[in-house]
Symmetry: C2
């Protein structure tokens, strides 16, 4: 089976030109469709990859966490980082395992993040909330000063990024056409289930609408 | 909202002791439940994070790709790597955004991989196929010598690994109990959809069974 992605060469990544609106749109679409990013950092010459909730804010990606988080402090300090978002769309059953693969969309963003200024934190949290929990901002208990103080938000621009999309049916070899096994795709998607209430309140529409 | 995972300090990772069977079982469960790993490598002091299909084989993780893949060649050469698998289980709506979070299971494996020997490649591919496409091995057209030659498989032991699991209902502050917003969890799971056939063969039971 083919691996999902083979290239890690930085040289293959293009600084997305302003005119390449198609590719930029594809990058935005992948980032807007995901919920969890995998953040890569280097510590003592060793790579570390940590999952993190995120949101796209115009031409940058926002990550948030506790001021006590080593990952967040490293990001805020501007350490070299890679933020990768992958959405798995299906398993591709070719006649041969060699031609079998996965359908997916993946975005990789390289660069150095920086801390969002104190006075911009609440607006950044609003963007993150609107991405991860649309509709929730107006309902949630507003952030307390000590909560904002304990939250670190970092932003990384989308200047250096790549998108890879694999979709469609299996790409079988012509000589495999008569092989007597089914060829096709099993679609996969992250699906919401029935909300589990922790209190007596009615499930709000913005949560109900996600799973129905 | 809390970030998914805060710690990247290598010192916080435990070399899993043989007696810690509970933690080892949890590690296996997370790795066995996922389909895509995010592989971290360092190139020119910069981290790169790339998605890759994988499988657990007893006490090691197997990754595969083309011999032309730079990522695969770096792994085969024993470069320091981090393999992270994350399964998102739900969005946790607390009364405050600060206490809101995600439910997830994540495994992080650190180390250096090595190439699987030529004579062990086919058995390793069988393990990978059984994980990603259970039931398919017996049906698929067998691998040709040139396909095996063009495939690189690497293995990394699970000696240094950590597991983090976040589950359950929101952890609301006592003073938020009367806040008039719903509190609860929206479960999320990767769900198969109706198979999309690329030929006239009947969808096999091992594919049908995954989505019904």
């Amino acid at each position: 089976m083919d691996a999902l992605l083979g290239a890690t060469a930085r040289t293959r990544l293009r600084r997305l030109p302003e005119k390449a609106t198609t590719e930029r749109r594809a990058l935005y679409d992948v980032l807007d469709a995901g919920l969890v990013a995998h953040v890569g950092l280097v510590d003592g010459h060793h790579p570390f990859v940590v999952p993190c909730g995120y949101a796209r804010d115009r031409d940058r990606i926002l990550l948030h966490g506790s001021t006590g988080s080593r990952m967040m402090r490293s990001l805020a300090a501007g350490r070299a980082a890679c933020v990768t978002v992958t959405i798995l769309d299906g398993l591709v059953y070719a006649k041969s395992l060699f031609n079998s693969s996965m359908n997916y969309r993946s975005a990789m963003v390289l660069g150095r993040a920086g801390a969002v200024a104190e006075e911009d934190k609440e607006a950044a949290l609003h963007v993150i909330a609107d991405h991860l929990m649309p509709g929730r901002w107006a309902d949630a208990r507003p952030a307390l000063p000590r909560e904002l103080a304990g939250t670190l938000i970092v932003a990384m621009t989308l200047d250096e990024a790549s998108v890879k999309i694999s979709d469609g049916p299996p790409d079988d070899d012509a000589e495999d056409a008569d092989w007597p096994a089914w060829s096709g795709v099993l679609p996969l998607a992250l699906q919401p289930g029935r909300p589990q209430s922790a209190d007596g309140h009615t499930v709000p529409d913005y949560v109900e609408a996600r799973w129905r």
